[in-house]
């Protein structure tokens, strides 16, 4: 390395060159400063005016979201024309005056209006539009139009109001829309990267199908460009315009519409039955090929409130309600299936040859195992019974014995074939997987060995087992169809605005469990037939737990169930249910299909805190099935009535003895 310092000539040369470069830099900077002074100080006012007088305002034309229709094309979600009032903050001249003019018209305190504008400016930046109120009434529009010209920044725009004709009915399924929040902007832009760009002010689906179908039904927003003056009012300036002429407006593209598998008539029948009995809970009805016909949760909310600004009072009430009206319990919550689990255990036991349909077991009123007593709900017991009687009367003791004979892992291996313990993959977000325990599961989750006593509680659907109503419907549907596990689905097809079909889904059998499955197990058709006959007797036998429920000309098969909400001692369990505070009462279940031999429809009803499967849940399922046959097979019912099938017409609501 040559040390140039040691060469004085070179050092001197460099010093003079530094000087030259410095001079060059200084001259450059002086020129720059002079130029800046010329632009910003001397021409500043002129150019400022230029920037203020000639602004192109981008107005977003929100695309109408697609309609949601039922299987017959009847509207489930539609659009209504409306008006909204928005503020462009950069054009506001006198915020106080604006608030005082606009506030009274909208029924808002002027201070609230100012607060809202300032909050929006803080959160979204000084140029973001503020939607003060949408879904304006005629009167509000009229009064606002009169003050508009004297109130810079104020604007009335046409908007689209999402309307839910069914109101509360199925609200958790259909979901609702609302203005996108700051967090959602980032989240949705990440999720739909390079497909849709979300911006502040956009209306998006917040839950249910509105959220799930966002990409399909959203449409493409348009843009209109208008030249505005410094107050945001449309203008034409005399200065030749350097932006406007060549920029073309972009029309919005109407969102695609979705046809669901839902049948509005059945949906409404289900809602009517649920509300008439004043029940809390969830219901799902599906065709045997997997098409969902009805889906509801109670209590519910009216999404039409959400289409505009949700009043805080209503929102607080909804979120603090202990029975969770916003939750989609059909798939988002899981519950102990109670006795509705017994047919699945029966399938496992029959298939594993632990019993046959002729095996007779003694089923007394209580059963001693592992040092303690396990109880039957009928204290007198059922005596010597077969699997048919055990399911018809819902004997606990019979199934305790099956639980012991099978052990948890065999139960797990057979019953998992029917879909319990795994998500159904229906087109909805946040589906719960449910829980089907096995000894391995307990060891990995809890680090404990499986206790023999737990076989007993599992066999009657208590303990760790938990399922969503949709999973229960699917499991029973598999029994009804003798082994065909179908894919449940909600969206039949999506069509664009011209009616062109963009997407269509057809019923699909995911697996046939009469053939050996990956875990090495299978279930024979004969096994299913035995259980089907047993479940037919539940509604048709002389001692069936739902024998009071009949539909003229149609034989149902199903099973009642009661799920304990909390543990009680044996003698407390049934004696006092109705007298307990409501949140401590048992959940009632009923899962059924019809006709029992050639299934068309499967229904699962969960009636929370109704104490019994029947009359808690079962009458609702009956009503739904009846509505289905009245619509699709009116001849069967008419014929049966003509024959005077007295027995069939008789519908009694007798409180069931047990479960």
């Amino acid at each position: 390395m040559s040390e140039y310092i040691s060469n004085p000539d070179e050092a001197r040369e460099f010093q003079s060159r530094y000087k030259n470069l410095s001079i060059f830099i200084v001259v450059t900077l002086v020129i720059f400063v002079l130029r800046l002074a010329w632009l910003q100080v001397i021409q500043g006012s002129e150019l400022r005016q230029f920037s203020e007088k000639n602004r192109i305002k981008q107005n977003k034309i929100a695309a109408p979201r697609g309609l949601i229709l039922d299987r017959d094309g009847k509207a489930l979600i539609e659009n209504l024309p409306g008006f909204e009032v928005v503020i462009s903050p950069q054009y506001i001249e006198d915020m106080k005056q604006l608030a005082e003019v606009v506030g009274p018209v909208l029924g808002l305190e002027p201070a609230k209006v100012i607060e809202k504008i300032q909050k929006n400016k803080r959160v979204n930046g000084p140029f973001a539009l503020i939607r003060l109120k949408d879904n304006l009434s005629r009167e509000e529009v009229f009064r606002l139009k009169r003050v508009r010209l004297d109130t810079p920044g104020l604007e009335i725009r046409e908007s689209i109001v999402r309307h839910y004709p069914l109101g509360e009915d199925g609200a958790q399924l259909f979901g609702y829309v609302g203005e996108i929040s700051k967090n959602e902007i980032a989240k949705l832009n990440e999720k739909y990267r390079s497909e849709i760009i979300f911006e502040q002010g956009d209306i998006v689906g917040k839950s249910g199908l509105e959220e799930y179908l966002e990409r399909k039904i959203r449409g493409t927003d348009g843009v209109s460009y208008i030249q505005v003056d410094a107050h945001g009012r449309e203008t034409v300036t005399e200065i030749p315009n350097i932006y406007g002429e060549k920029i073309k407006d972009l029309d919005s593209v109407h969102g695609n519409s979705a046809f669901l598998t839902i049948d509005r008539d059945i949906q409404e029948a289900a809602y009517k039955s649920f509300t008439n009995l004043n029940r809390i809970g969830a219901l799902v009805a599906m065709k045997s090929n997997g098409e969902i016909l009805a889906w509801l949760n109670a209590p519910s909310f009216d999404p039409n409130y959400f289409a505009t600004d949700i009043p805080v009072r209503i929102w607080n009430k909804l979120t603090s309600d202990p029975f969770k009206p916003l939750r989609n319990k059909v798939i988002q919550d899981h519950f102990s299936p109670g006795s509705t689990f017994k047919p699945l255990v029966a399938v496992a036991a029959l298939q594993d040859k632990v019993i046959t349909d002729k095996t007779v077991l003694n089923a007394p009123g209580r059963f001693f195992f592992g040092g303690r007593w396990y109880h039957n709900h009928n204290k007198n017991g059922e005596g010597l019974i077969t699997v048919y009687d055990a399911l018809e009367r819902s004997s606990n003791v019979f199934f305790y014995q099956l639980g012991i004979k099978l052990g948890i892992d065999k139960m797990y291996n057979y019953i998992s074939l029917l879909g319990l313990g795994s998500r159904t993959q229906i087109e909805m977000t946040r589906e719960a997987p449910g829980r089907l325990p096995s000894s391995e599961w307990k060891k990995s989750i809890r680090g404990e060995e499986w206790q023999p006593g737990e076989n007993l509680s599992t066999a009657i659907g208590q303990g760790y087992v938990a399922a969503t109503p949709l999973q229960m419907a699917l499991a029973y549907n598999t029994i009804a169809t003798e082994g065909k596990v179908v894919k449940p689905f909600l969206v039949k097809k999506v069509v664009d605005h011209d009616g062109k079909v963009l997407f269509e889904r057809f019923p699909e059998v995911l697996r046939d469990v009469t053939l050996p499955q990956p875990n090495g197990y299978k279930i024979d058709v004969d096994t299913f037939r035995i259980v089907k006959e047993a479940l037919r007797r539940v509604t048709n036998g002389t001692r069936g737990t739902a024998k009071n429920l009949k539909i003229p000309g149609v034989q149902m098969a199903g099973k009642t169930g009661t799920a304990q909400v909390m543990s009680f001692t044996a003698d407390q369990i049934y004696a006092k249910c109705e007298s307990r505070p409501i949140h401590m009462r048992h959940h009632g279940w009923f899962v059924a299909w019809a006709p029992w031999d050639k299934p068309e429809i499967t229904v699962a009803v969960l009636a929370q805190h109704s104490c019994h499967g029947n009359p808690g849940a079962a009458p609702i399922a009956r009503d739904v099935i009846e509505a289905y046959f009245k619509k699709y097979h009116p001849d069967i019912i008419a014929e049966a009535l003509k024959k005077g099938d007295k027995h069939a017409v008789q519908i009694m609501h007798v409180p069931a003895e047990g479960d």
Binding site: D9, E10, F14, R17, L47, N189, I242
Partner: protein, 375 residues
């Protein structure tokens, strides 16, 4: 000063490091981040919002490299610069063949976590390789003749040609300016300087006719008379001038610039970042930034003068030229003194490759300061 006259190694850390250099860079960083936040957070700019956070990450990376460079003796670069230079030329060739095309230019290699722009790092490589070659050239007397210039010129022309081909005329021009400044600094014969000027004048019309692409010709024409086609080619230039001018003396305020927030300004976060600053902070803000740069150059020159060896002095000149020419072309373009050329403003524009290169260059200068003579 008690430390005066002590051997380099005997001075302690804080006295060796040039704290003024660090403060000036930090000052530009802070201004840059405020300004970038405004430029990326308009009402319709969701697509660029995340760039602000990315820039902070680049900045942290940049400072890490800065300090690594500071504490390493810059002599080590001399040993491996050939390898780095050749690798960088290789990357340029690869980019020309298979690079990622964005906005009509094929300038990037997609590394998945970020897009690497080899022409950006080439600037620093060129500085270092020229410093090494020019070390052995005599700076006194008549200066370098054709024979002595031949090799350095090849080293400049190869990356220059590869960058022109992308096409990225702005960056190519930067390579030429940086290299030219270093050659001039070492001294070129007067006859050759005259020859270059004459050739340039002759070559200009030829290049205009055959070498330039349509859009490049348009930019120059637009620069000469911007109001001819205000909708098309003159749009950027006019919008930028309106933005700068409308800032007036004190500016419109943070995030209040209508030209940038309402998206009249193109490329707000990269090439036209200075317009955003001028609009929102006015004459005062614009001047402060220019003065900060001026101080930075002054300190760099001081460091160069006190450098331990010629190698350090040449590197300092190269890095200073790098920052100066970028500032010169960028600000000149934004305020309407030069045609529109896509060149970022160091430390203020968004850009990962640029930020890392700038900070690495400043790190080298800092390293030279760390090892300078103090008398």
């Amino acid at each position: 000063m008690a430390l005066r006259g002590l051997h380099v190694n005997e001075r302690n850390f804080l006295n060796r490091i040039d704290i003024r250099l660090i403060l000036l860079i930090l000052c530009l960083n802070v201004i840059g981040l405020f300004n970038l936040y405004s430029a990326t957070h308009g009402p319709h700019s969701r697509d660029v919002e995340s760039l602000f956070l990315q820039q902070i990450i680049w900045l942290l990376g940049g400072w890490t490299i800065f300090f690594i460079m500071t504490f390493l003796d810059y002599i080590w670069v001399n040993k491996i610069i050939w390898v780095i230079y050749l690798l960088n030329v290789g990357a340029l060739v690869y980019t020309d063949l298979k690079g990622k095309v964005v906005l009509g230019g094929q300038r990037w290699i997609d590394l998945h976590f970020f897009r690497y722009q080899p022409s950006e790092t080439m600037k620093l490589c060129l500085i270092l390789i020229l410093a090494r070659i020019l070390l052995n050239r005599n700076s006194t007397g008549r200066g370098m003749g054709l024979r002595e210039l031949f090799f350095p010129l090849i080293l400049i022309i190869v990356p220059f040609a590869l960058t022109v081909k992308q096409p990225d005329l702005g960056t190519a021009m930067m390579l030429m300016f940086i290299g030219g400044t270093m050659l001039f600094f070492v001294k070129i014969r007067k006859s050759i300087l005259a020859f270059i000027v004459v050739t340039g004048l002759v070559a200009m019309p030829i290049a205009w006719k055959y070498g330039f692409k349509d859009y490049q010709r348009n930019r120059v024409l637009t620069f000469l008379s911007p109001d001819q086609d205000p909708q098309g080619t003159g749009y950027n230039s006019i919008q930028s001038r309106i933005a700068v001018g409308s800032g007036k003396f004190f500016g419109k305020g943070f995030r209040m610039g209508t030209q940038s927030q309402l998206e009249f300004l193109p490329e707000r976060h990269t090439d036209f970042i200075y317009s955003v600053l001028s609009e929102e902070w006015g004459f005062v803000g614009s001047i402060i930034v220019l003065f900060t740069f001026a101080f930075l150059f002054k300190i760099c020159f001081e460091i160069g003068l006190q450098a331990r060896d010629k190698y350090g002095a040449l590197i300092t000149i190269g890095v200073t030229a790098y920052i100066f020419w970028h500032m010169f072309v960028n600000v000149g373009m934004v305020i309407g003194l030069l045609p529109i050329v896509g060149v970022p403003l160091p430390l203020l524009s968004y850009g990962g490759s640029g930020m890392i290169t700038t900070m690495a260059g400043m790190g080298l200068v800092s390293s030279i300061a760390y090892r300078r003579y103090l008398f």
